[in-house]
Protein backbone atom coordinates (compact mmCIF):
# COMPACT_ATOMS: atom_id res chain seq x y z
CA UNK A 1 0.00 0.00 0.00
CA UNK A 2 2.72 2.37 1.03
CA UNK A 3 4.56 1.52 -2.14
CA UNK A 4 1.51 2.49 -4.19
CA UNK A 5 1.25 5.88 -2.52
CA UNK A 6 4.92 6.55 -3.15
CA UNK A 7 4.48 5.48 -6.74
CA UNK A 8 1.41 7.68 -7.19
CA UNK A 9 3.28 10.60 -5.63
CA UNK A 10 6.22 10.05 -7.95
CA UNK A 11 4.03 9.94 -11.06
CA UNK A 12 2.03 13.08 -10.17
CA UNK A 13 5.08 15.09 -9.19
CA UNK A 14 6.98 13.80 -12.18
CA UNK A 15 4.21 14.60 -14.64
CA UNK A 16 3.39 18.07 -13.29
CA UNK A 17 7.07 18.78 -12.82
CA UNK A 18 7.80 17.80 -16.42
CA UNK A 19 4.99 20.01 -17.75
CA UNK A 20 5.93 23.09 -15.73
CA UNK A 21 9.68 22.63 -16.12
CA UNK A 22 9.37 22.38 -19.89
CA UNK A 23 7.07 25.42 -20.13
CA UNK A 24 9.26 27.65 -17.95
CA UNK A 25 12.55 26.37 -19.35
CA UNK A 26 11.27 26.66 -22.92
CA UNK A 27 10.20 30.29 -22.55
CA UNK A 28 13.23 31.40 -20.54
CA UNK A 29 15.61 29.15 -22.49
CA UNK A 30 14.65 30.61 -25.90
CA UNK A 31 15.50 34.04 -24.46
CA UNK A 32 18.79 32.89 -22.87
CA UNK A 33 20.03 31.06 -25.96
CA UNK A 34 19.00 33.75 -28.45
CA UNK A 35 20.55 36.51 -26.39
CA UNK A 36 23.74 34.48 -25.75
CA UNK A 37 23.21 34.58 -21.99
CA UNK A 38 24.12 30.94 -21.36
CA UNK A 39 27.25 31.74 -19.38
CA UNK A 40 25.43 34.42 -17.37
CA UNK A 41 22.74 31.86 -16.58
CA UNK A 42 25.38 29.37 -15.45
CA UNK A 43 26.71 32.05 -13.11
CA UNK A 44 23.24 32.75 -11.74
CA UNK A 45 22.58 29.06 -11.14
CA UNK A 46 25.78 28.47 -9.21
CA UNK A 47 25.68 31.78 -7.34
CA UNK A 48 22.21 30.83 -6.06
CA UNK A 49 23.83 27.92 -4.19
CA UNK A 50 24.95 30.57 -1.69
CA UNK A 51 21.29 31.22 -0.89
CA UNK A 52 20.65 27.50 -0.46
CA UNK A 53 23.47 27.30 2.13
CA UNK A 54 22.20 30.32 4.03
CA UNK A 55 18.66 28.90 3.98
CA UNK A 56 19.94 25.65 5.51
CA UNK A 57 21.94 27.42 8.19
CA UNK A 58 19.18 29.78 9.29
CA UNK A 59 16.45 27.21 8.84
CA UNK A 60 14.26 28.80 6.17
CA UNK A 61 13.28 27.43 2.76
CA UNK A 62 16.55 27.16 0.78
CA UNK A 63 14.69 27.90 -2.49
CA UNK A 64 13.83 31.32 -1.09
CA UNK A 65 17.49 32.02 -0.37
CA UNK A 66 18.42 30.73 -3.81
CA UNK A 67 15.85 33.02 -5.46
CA UNK A 68 17.28 36.09 -3.73
CA UNK A 69 20.86 35.10 -4.61
CA UNK A 70 19.90 34.24 -8.19
CA UNK A 71 18.17 37.54 -8.92
CA UNK A 72 20.82 39.62 -7.13
CA UNK A 73 23.66 37.93 -8.97
CA UNK A 74 21.98 38.41 -12.37
CA UNK A 75 21.43 42.10 -11.70
CA UNK A 76 24.85 42.30 -10.02
CA UNK A 77 26.60 41.12 -13.19
CA UNK A 78 24.76 43.82 -15.13
CA UNK A 79 25.77 46.41 -12.53
CA UNK A 80 29.43 45.35 -12.39
CA UNK A 81 29.85 45.24 -16.16
CA UNK A 82 27.91 48.37 -17.11
CA UNK A 83 28.53 50.70 -14.17
CA UNK A 84 31.86 49.46 -12.81
CA UNK A 85 33.36 48.58 -16.21
CA UNK A 86 34.40 45.10 -15.09
CA UNK A 87 34.39 42.71 -18.03
CA UNK A 88 31.16 40.76 -18.06
CA UNK A 89 32.65 37.27 -18.24
CA UNK A 90 34.98 38.08 -15.34
CA UNK A 91 32.09 39.44 -13.28
CA UNK A 92 30.13 36.23 -13.96
CA UNK A 93 33.12 34.05 -13.06
CA UNK A 94 33.61 35.87 -9.76
CA UNK A 95 29.96 35.75 -8.66
CA UNK A 96 29.68 32.11 -9.81
CA UNK A 97 32.46 30.97 -7.47
CA UNK A 98 31.56 33.39 -4.68
CA UNK A 99 28.02 32.01 -4.45
CA UNK A 100 29.29 28.42 -4.39
CA UNK A 101 31.80 29.35 -1.66
CA UNK A 102 29.12 30.94 0.53
CA UNK A 103 26.90 27.90 0.05
CA UNK A 104 29.62 25.45 1.03
CA UNK A 105 30.69 27.49 4.08
CA UNK A 106 27.15 27.72 5.48
CA UNK A 107 26.29 24.10 4.77
CA UNK A 108 29.54 23.12 6.51
CA UNK A 109 28.59 25.27 9.52
CA UNK A 110 25.08 23.77 9.73
CA UNK A 111 25.03 21.17 12.52
CA UNK A 112 24.46 17.60 11.33
CA UNK A 113 24.71 16.20 7.82
CA UNK A 114 22.30 17.53 5.24
CA UNK A 115 20.94 14.62 3.23
CA UNK A 116 19.29 17.01 0.75
CA UNK A 117 22.55 18.56 -0.38
CA UNK A 118 23.00 16.06 -3.20
CA UNK A 119 19.47 16.74 -4.40
CA UNK A 120 20.27 20.43 -4.72
CA UNK A 121 23.44 19.71 -6.65
CA UNK A 122 22.08 17.04 -8.97
CA UNK A 123 18.30 17.23 -8.58
CA UNK A 124 15.91 14.63 -7.24
CA UNK A 125 12.22 14.22 -7.89
CA UNK A 126 11.82 12.45 -4.54
CA UNK A 127 12.69 15.59 -2.58
CA UNK A 128 10.53 17.89 -4.73
CA UNK A 129 7.64 19.14 -2.61
CA UNK A 130 4.18 20.14 -3.76
CA UNK A 131 5.15 23.69 -2.83
CA UNK A 132 7.95 23.48 -5.39
CA UNK A 133 5.50 22.21 -8.02
CA UNK A 134 2.98 24.96 -7.24
CA UNK A 135 5.74 27.60 -7.43
CA UNK A 136 6.75 26.27 -10.85
CA UNK A 137 3.09 26.27 -11.92
CA UNK A 138 2.69 29.92 -10.92
CA UNK A 139 5.94 30.75 -12.69
CA UNK A 140 4.61 29.07 -15.86
CA UNK A 141 1.52 31.29 -15.80
CA UNK A 142 3.57 34.42 -15.11
CA UNK A 143 5.97 33.70 -17.98
CA UNK A 144 3.19 32.81 -20.44
CA UNK A 145 1.42 36.10 -19.63
CA UNK A 146 4.63 38.15 -19.70
CA UNK A 147 5.96 36.76 -22.98
CA UNK A 148 2.44 36.65 -24.47
CA UNK A 149 1.64 40.29 -23.76
CA UNK A 150 5.07 41.77 -24.48
CA UNK A 151 6.24 39.27 -27.12
CA UNK A 152 7.35 41.79 -29.74
CA UNK A 153 8.71 44.32 -27.27
CA UNK A 154 10.90 41.66 -25.62
CA UNK A 155 11.96 40.17 -28.98
CA UNK A 156 12.94 43.52 -30.48
CA UNK A 157 14.80 44.76 -27.41
CA UNK A 158 16.77 41.56 -27.09
CA UNK A 159 17.56 41.49 -30.84
CA UNK A 160 18.73 45.10 -31.13
CA UNK A 161 18.85 46.98 -27.87
CA UNK A 162 20.38 50.19 -29.21
CA UNK A 163 17.80 50.46 -31.98
CA UNK A 164 15.03 49.87 -29.45
CA UNK A 165 16.36 52.81 -27.44
CA UNK A 166 15.59 55.11 -30.37
CA UNK A 167 11.85 54.52 -30.01
CA UNK A 168 11.31 53.31 -26.46
CA UNK A 169 12.18 54.60 -23.03
CA UNK A 170 11.28 51.24 -21.46
CA UNK A 171 14.34 49.33 -22.66
CA UNK A 172 16.09 49.13 -19.27
CA UNK A 173 12.93 48.20 -17.38
CA UNK A 174 12.26 45.32 -19.77
CA UNK A 175 15.85 44.17 -19.66
CA UNK A 176 15.95 44.03 -15.87
CA UNK A 177 12.50 42.51 -15.43
CA UNK A 178 13.21 39.80 -18.02
CA UNK A 179 16.62 39.04 -16.49
CA UNK A 180 15.08 38.79 -13.00
CA UNK A 181 12.30 36.49 -14.26
CA UNK A 182 14.83 34.29 -16.04
CA UNK A 183 16.95 34.06 -12.88
CA UNK A 184 13.90 33.15 -10.80
CA UNK A 185 12.87 30.53 -13.36
CA UNK A 186 16.28 28.89 -13.24
CA UNK A 187 16.24 28.80 -9.43
CA UNK A 188 12.78 27.22 -9.29
CA UNK A 189 13.96 24.49 -11.65
CA UNK A 190 17.00 23.67 -9.49
CA UNK A 191 14.89 21.23 -7.44
CA UNK A 192 14.14 19.32 -10.62
CA UNK A 193 17.58 19.01 -12.16
CA UNK A 194 20.04 20.39 -9.61
CA UNK A 195 22.51 23.28 -9.62
CA UNK A 196 25.00 21.48 -11.81
CA UNK A 197 22.60 20.19 -14.46
CA UNK A 198 19.68 22.63 -14.58
CA UNK A 199 21.16 24.89 -17.23
CA UNK A 200 20.99 22.17 -19.87
CA UNK A 201 17.22 22.10 -19.38
CA UNK A 202 17.26 25.69 -20.68
CA UNK A 203 19.90 25.39 -23.39
CA UNK A 204 19.35 22.03 -25.10
CA UNK A 205 15.62 22.38 -26.05
CA UNK A 206 16.03 25.77 -27.86
CA UNK A 207 19.04 24.34 -29.68
CA UNK A 208 16.95 21.38 -30.80
CA UNK A 209 14.30 23.83 -32.06
CA UNK A 210 16.84 26.05 -33.83
CA UNK A 211 17.95 23.13 -35.99
CA UNK A 212 14.79 23.53 -38.07
CA UNK A 213 13.31 26.95 -37.32
CA UNK A 214 14.61 30.49 -36.88
CA UNK A 215 11.21 31.96 -36.01
CA UNK A 216 11.31 33.02 -32.37
CA UNK A 217 7.74 32.03 -31.47
CA UNK A 218 8.24 28.59 -33.02
CA UNK A 219 11.51 28.17 -31.13
CA UNK A 220 9.57 28.67 -27.90
CA UNK A 221 6.87 26.14 -28.84
CA UNK A 222 9.31 23.47 -30.03
CA UNK A 223 11.54 24.06 -26.98
CA UNK A 224 8.61 23.38 -24.66
CA UNK A 225 7.76 20.22 -26.58
CA UNK A 226 11.36 18.99 -26.75
CA UNK A 227 11.82 19.82 -23.06
CA UNK A 228 8.70 17.83 -22.18
CA UNK A 229 9.78 14.80 -24.20
CA UNK A 230 13.25 14.87 -22.65
CA UNK A 231 11.99 15.39 -19.11
CA UNK A 232 9.18 12.83 -19.28
CA UNK A 233 11.38 10.21 -20.94
CA UNK A 234 14.09 10.99 -18.41
CA UNK A 235 11.69 10.24 -15.53
CA UNK A 236 10.52 6.97 -16.98
CA UNK A 237 14.04 5.77 -17.77
CA UNK A 238 15.38 6.84 -14.39
CA UNK A 239 12.51 5.07 -12.64
CA UNK A 240 13.05 1.77 -14.38
CA UNK A 241 16.84 1.91 -14.48
CA UNK A 242 17.13 3.28 -10.95
CA UNK A 243 19.49 6.10 -11.92
CA UNK A 244 19.34 9.81 -10.89
CA UNK A 245 16.57 11.81 -12.58
CA UNK A 246 18.47 15.03 -13.37
CA UNK A 247 21.30 13.25 -15.14
CA UNK A 248 18.87 11.01 -17.04
CA UNK A 249 16.86 14.00 -18.29
CA UNK A 250 19.96 15.78 -19.57
CA UNK A 251 21.28 12.58 -21.13
CA UNK A 252 17.94 12.02 -22.90
CA UNK A 253 17.83 15.62 -24.15
CA UNK A 254 21.32 15.39 -25.64
CA UNK A 255 20.39 12.14 -27.40
CA UNK A 256 17.24 13.82 -28.79
CA UNK A 257 19.37 16.77 -29.95
CA UNK A 258 21.85 14.52 -31.75
CA UNK A 259 19.06 12.46 -33.37
CA UNK A 260 17.15 15.55 -34.56
CA UNK A 261 20.33 17.09 -35.92
CA UNK A 262 21.25 13.91 -37.79
CA UNK A 263 17.69 13.41 -39.04
CA UNK A 264 17.54 16.98 -40.31
CA UNK A 265 20.87 16.67 -42.15
CA UNK A 266 19.73 13.38 -43.63
CA UNK A 267 16.39 14.71 -44.95
CA UNK A 268 18.18 17.73 -46.42
CA UNK A 269 20.61 15.40 -48.12
CA UNK A 270 17.71 13.36 -49.54
CA UNK A 271 15.96 16.49 -50.83
CA UNK A 272 19.10 17.71 -52.55
CA UNK A 273 19.53 14.32 -54.12
CA UNK A 274 16.06 14.48 -55.69
CA UNK A 275 16.67 17.81 -57.42
Amino acid sequence: MEGNILQYDFIIKGLLGAVFASITAGLAGAYIVSKRMVFLSGGVTHASFGGIGIGYYFGFNPVLGAAVFGILSALGVEYLSVKQKIREDSAIGILWAFGMAIGIIFIFLTPGYSPNLMSYLFGSILTVTYTDIIALGIMSVVLILYFGIFYRTILYISFDESFARTYSSYVNIFKYVTTALVALTIVLNIRMAGVVLVLSLFTIPPNIAMIFTRVYSKIILWSVLAGFIGTAAGYVISYFAGIPVGATIIFTLVIVWVLVKMGYQFTRYLRKDKR
Partner: protein, 251 residues
Amino acid sequence: MANLLEMRSLTASYDNNIVLEDIDFTVNENDFIGVIGPNGGGKTTLLKVILGLIKPAKGRIEFNSSLINGNSIGYLPQISTGDAYYPVTVTDVILSGMMIRKKILSRMSAADKKRTREIIEELGLSGMEQSSLTELSGGQLQRVFLGRAIIGNPRLLLLDEPGNFVDSTFEKDFYGKLKDLNSRMAILMVSHDIGMISSHVKSYACVNRKLHYHSSSEISNEQLLAYGCPIQLITHGEVPHTVLKSHGDGR
Protein backbone atom coordinates in the same frame (compact mmCIF):
# COMPACT_ATOMS: atom_id res chain seq x y z
CA MET B 1 7.96 75.10 -45.38
CA ALA B 2 7.77 73.84 -41.85
CA ASN B 3 10.76 73.21 -39.62
CA LEU B 4 11.03 69.60 -38.55
CA LEU B 5 13.66 70.30 -35.97
CA GLU B 6 15.79 73.13 -34.80
CA MET B 7 19.03 73.09 -32.77
CA ARG B 8 20.06 76.29 -31.03
CA SER B 9 23.58 76.77 -29.53
CA LEU B 10 23.65 73.04 -28.89
CA THR B 11 26.67 71.39 -27.28
CA ALA B 12 26.93 67.62 -26.85
CA SER B 13 29.62 65.63 -25.06
CA TYR B 14 30.70 62.08 -24.18
CA ASP B 15 32.19 61.76 -20.68
CA ASN B 16 32.98 65.51 -20.60
CA ASN B 17 34.68 65.44 -24.01
CA ILE B 18 32.91 67.95 -26.17
CA VAL B 19 32.02 66.38 -29.53
CA LEU B 20 29.66 69.00 -30.89
CA GLU B 21 29.97 72.63 -29.86
CA ASP B 22 27.58 75.52 -30.15
CA ILE B 23 25.63 74.20 -33.10
CA ASP B 24 22.78 75.92 -34.87
CA PHE B 25 21.04 73.65 -37.30
CA THR B 26 17.61 73.42 -38.85
CA VAL B 27 16.02 70.59 -40.78
CA ASN B 28 13.04 71.49 -42.95
CA GLU B 29 10.46 69.29 -44.61
CA ASN B 30 11.73 67.79 -47.87
CA ASP B 31 15.35 68.52 -47.01
CA PHE B 32 17.95 66.05 -48.26
CA ILE B 33 21.06 66.94 -46.33
CA GLY B 34 24.41 65.22 -46.69
CA VAL B 35 26.25 65.26 -43.37
CA ILE B 36 29.96 65.13 -44.10
CA GLY B 37 33.12 65.54 -42.06
CA PRO B 38 36.15 63.67 -40.74
CA ASN B 39 35.92 60.52 -38.62
CA GLY B 40 35.35 61.44 -35.01
CA GLY B 41 34.03 64.85 -36.09
CA GLY B 42 30.65 64.21 -34.51
CA LYS B 43 28.47 63.06 -37.43
CA THR B 44 27.01 60.06 -35.65
CA THR B 45 26.70 62.08 -32.44
CA LEU B 46 24.56 64.57 -34.34
CA LEU B 47 22.18 61.75 -35.27
CA LYS B 48 22.14 60.43 -31.71
CA VAL B 49 21.20 63.86 -30.38
CA ILE B 50 18.31 63.96 -32.84
CA LEU B 51 17.24 60.45 -31.77
CA GLY B 52 17.32 61.50 -28.13
CA LEU B 53 20.03 58.94 -27.28
CA ILE B 54 22.36 61.73 -26.14
CA LYS B 55 21.03 64.67 -24.19
CA PRO B 56 22.48 68.07 -25.09
CA ALA B 57 24.96 69.37 -22.50
CA LYS B 58 24.05 72.92 -23.42
CA GLY B 59 21.58 74.58 -25.72
CA ARG B 60 18.40 73.01 -26.96
CA ILE B 61 16.82 70.95 -29.67
CA GLU B 62 13.21 71.52 -30.58
CA PHE B 63 11.05 69.22 -32.62
CA ASN B 64 8.04 69.92 -34.75
CA SER B 65 5.00 68.60 -32.88
CA SER B 66 4.82 65.71 -35.37
CA LEU B 67 8.22 64.45 -34.18
CA ILE B 68 7.71 64.75 -30.43
CA ASN B 69 10.06 62.64 -28.33
CA GLY B 70 12.05 61.58 -31.32
CA ASN B 71 9.18 59.43 -32.53
CA SER B 72 8.35 59.27 -36.19
CA ILE B 73 12.06 59.34 -37.00
CA GLY B 74 13.39 56.48 -39.11
CA TYR B 75 16.95 55.39 -38.40
CA LEU B 76 19.43 53.25 -40.31
CA PRO B 77 22.41 52.71 -38.00
CA GLN B 78 25.96 52.61 -39.35
CA ILE B 79 26.71 49.04 -38.41
CA SER B 80 23.72 47.09 -37.38
CA THR B 81 23.86 46.63 -33.65
CA GLY B 82 21.55 43.63 -33.94
CA ASP B 83 23.07 40.18 -33.66
CA ALA B 84 22.94 38.61 -37.14
CA TYR B 85 22.78 35.15 -35.53
CA TYR B 86 19.72 36.12 -33.52
CA PRO B 87 16.79 33.88 -34.49
CA VAL B 88 14.70 36.57 -36.09
CA THR B 89 13.24 36.67 -39.60
CA VAL B 90 13.45 39.39 -42.26
CA THR B 91 9.72 40.03 -41.74
CA ASP B 92 10.18 40.46 -37.98
CA VAL B 93 13.09 42.89 -38.35
CA ILE B 94 11.24 45.10 -40.84
CA LEU B 95 8.04 44.93 -38.79
CA SER B 96 9.98 46.11 -35.73
CA GLY B 97 10.26 49.52 -37.44
CA MET B 98 6.53 49.97 -36.75
CA MET B 99 7.38 50.26 -33.07
CA ILE B 100 8.01 54.00 -33.59
CA ARG B 101 4.25 54.32 -34.01
CA LYS B 102 3.22 51.90 -31.26
CA LYS B 103 2.29 52.26 -27.64
CA ILE B 104 3.71 49.66 -25.29
CA LEU B 105 0.62 47.43 -25.30
CA SER B 106 -0.54 47.87 -28.88
CA ARG B 107 -0.42 44.86 -31.20
CA MET B 108 0.72 44.60 -34.79
CA SER B 109 -2.33 44.84 -37.06
CA ALA B 110 -3.06 43.10 -40.34
CA ALA B 111 -2.35 46.44 -42.03
CA ASP B 112 1.12 46.53 -40.43
CA LYS B 113 1.83 43.06 -41.79
CA LYS B 114 0.51 44.01 -45.23
CA ARG B 115 2.78 47.06 -45.18
CA THR B 116 5.72 44.80 -44.30
CA ARG B 117 5.00 42.64 -47.35
CA GLU B 118 4.88 45.77 -49.52
CA ILE B 119 8.22 47.01 -48.18
CA ILE B 120 9.79 43.58 -48.73
CA GLU B 121 8.66 43.63 -52.35
CA GLU B 122 9.67 47.26 -52.82
CA LEU B 123 13.19 46.53 -51.61
CA GLY B 124 13.63 43.45 -53.75
CA LEU B 125 13.60 41.02 -50.85
CA SER B 126 10.70 38.85 -52.03
CA GLY B 127 11.13 35.19 -51.18
CA MET B 128 13.24 36.01 -48.13
CA GLU B 129 10.34 36.82 -45.79
CA GLN B 130 11.14 33.96 -43.43
CA SER B 131 14.91 33.96 -43.94
CA SER B 132 17.15 34.53 -40.97
CA LEU B 133 19.72 37.30 -41.19
CA THR B 134 22.68 34.92 -41.57
CA GLU B 135 21.29 33.82 -44.94
CA LEU B 136 21.54 37.34 -46.41
CA SER B 137 24.34 39.16 -48.20
CA GLY B 138 25.64 42.46 -46.83
CA GLY B 139 23.58 44.42 -49.33
CA GLN B 140 20.40 42.49 -48.56
CA LEU B 141 20.96 42.99 -44.86
CA GLN B 142 21.32 46.72 -45.44
CA ARG B 143 18.01 46.74 -47.31
CA VAL B 144 16.30 44.93 -44.45
CA PHE B 145 17.49 47.62 -42.07
CA LEU B 146 16.44 50.32 -44.54
CA GLY B 147 13.02 48.65 -44.58
CA ARG B 148 12.92 48.80 -40.80
CA ALA B 149 13.78 52.51 -40.95
CA ILE B 150 11.06 53.47 -43.44
CA ILE B 151 8.14 51.17 -42.65
CA GLY B 152 6.74 53.50 -40.02
CA ASN B 153 6.55 56.23 -42.69
CA PRO B 154 8.67 58.62 -40.64
CA ARG B 155 8.78 62.33 -41.42
CA LEU B 156 12.53 62.35 -40.96
CA LEU B 157 14.91 59.61 -42.07
CA LEU B 158 18.42 59.38 -40.62
CA LEU B 159 20.97 57.31 -42.54
CA ASP B 160 24.39 56.62 -41.06
CA GLU B 161 26.91 55.65 -43.77
CA PRO B 162 24.40 53.75 -45.91
CA GLY B 163 27.05 53.29 -48.63
CA ASN B 164 29.05 50.87 -46.51
CA PHE B 165 27.10 47.78 -47.45
CA VAL B 166 25.13 48.72 -50.50
CA ASP B 167 26.17 46.32 -53.23
CA SER B 168 26.86 47.79 -56.65
CA THR B 169 23.85 46.13 -58.26
CA PHE B 170 21.53 47.79 -55.80
CA GLU B 171 23.36 51.11 -55.50
CA LYS B 172 21.49 52.90 -58.30
CA ASP B 173 18.18 51.57 -57.02
CA PHE B 174 19.14 52.59 -53.52
CA TYR B 175 19.66 56.26 -54.36
CA GLY B 176 16.61 56.21 -56.63
CA LYS B 177 14.68 54.83 -53.68
CA LEU B 178 15.97 57.61 -51.44
CA LYS B 179 14.86 60.18 -54.03
CA ASP B 180 11.35 58.69 -53.94
CA LEU B 181 11.33 58.68 -50.18
CA ASN B 182 12.51 62.29 -50.11
CA SER B 183 9.21 63.38 -51.66
CA ARG B 184 7.46 62.39 -48.42
CA MET B 185 10.18 62.65 -45.77
CA ALA B 186 13.23 64.75 -45.02
CA ILE B 187 16.51 62.82 -45.17
CA LEU B 188 19.71 63.36 -43.26
CA MET B 189 22.49 61.17 -44.65
CA VAL B 190 25.86 60.81 -42.97
CA SER B 191 28.71 59.80 -45.25
CA HIS B 192 32.43 60.20 -45.59
CA ASP B 193 32.14 59.34 -49.27
CA ILE B 194 31.30 62.71 -50.75
CA GLY B 195 31.56 61.49 -54.31
CA MET B 196 28.78 59.06 -53.67
CA ILE B 197 26.36 61.53 -52.20
CA SER B 198 27.18 64.74 -54.07
CA SER B 199 24.84 63.96 -56.94
CA HIS B 200 21.96 63.07 -54.64
CA VAL B 201 21.72 65.53 -51.76
CA LYS B 202 20.22 69.00 -51.91
CA SER B 203 22.50 70.56 -49.30
CA TYR B 204 25.43 69.80 -47.01
CA ALA B 205 26.15 70.05 -43.32
CA CYS B 206 29.88 69.85 -42.58
CA VAL B 207 30.43 68.55 -39.08
CA ASN B 208 33.74 68.76 -37.26
CA ARG B 209 32.92 69.75 -33.72
CA LYS B 210 31.28 72.82 -35.28
CA LEU B 211 28.60 72.59 -37.95
CA HIS B 212 28.58 74.56 -41.18
CA TYR B 213 25.64 74.46 -43.48
CA HIS B 214 25.96 74.79 -47.24
CA SER B 215 23.01 75.06 -49.51
CA SER B 216 23.32 73.25 -52.80
CA SER B 217 23.36 76.60 -54.65
CA GLU B 218 26.93 77.04 -53.43
CA ILE B 219 27.89 74.24 -55.74
CA SER B 220 26.50 75.47 -59.01
CA ASN B 221 26.23 73.74 -62.32
CA GLU B 222 28.87 76.08 -63.76
CA GLN B 223 31.33 74.93 -61.15
CA LEU B 224 30.57 71.36 -62.05
CA LEU B 225 31.19 72.18 -65.70
CA ALA B 226 34.40 74.01 -64.88
CA TYR B 227 35.79 70.86 -63.31
CA GLY B 228 34.99 68.95 -66.44
CA CYS B 229 34.59 65.81 -64.40
CA PRO B 230 32.27 64.52 -61.74
CA ILE B 231 33.06 66.15 -58.41
CA GLN B 232 34.60 63.66 -56.03
CA LEU B 233 35.82 66.11 -53.43
CA ILE B 234 34.44 69.14 -51.72
CA THR B 235 36.78 71.21 -49.57
CA HIS B 236 36.71 74.52 -47.80
CA GLY B 237 39.02 76.83 -49.73
CA GLU B 238 42.12 76.64 -47.58
CA VAL B 239 42.68 72.94 -48.20
CA PRO B 240 45.10 72.58 -51.14
CA HIS B 241 43.68 70.43 -53.86
CA THR B 242 44.36 69.42 -57.44
CA VAL B 243 41.89 68.64 -60.13
CA LEU B 244 43.12 66.23 -62.77
CA LYS B 245 41.74 66.17 -66.27
CA SER B 246 39.60 63.21 -67.09
CA HIS B 247 41.38 60.49 -68.98
CA GLY B 248 39.36 61.11 -72.10
CA ASP B 249 38.82 57.42 -72.58
CA GLY B 250 35.57 57.42 -70.71
CA ARG B 251 37.11 56.57 -67.38
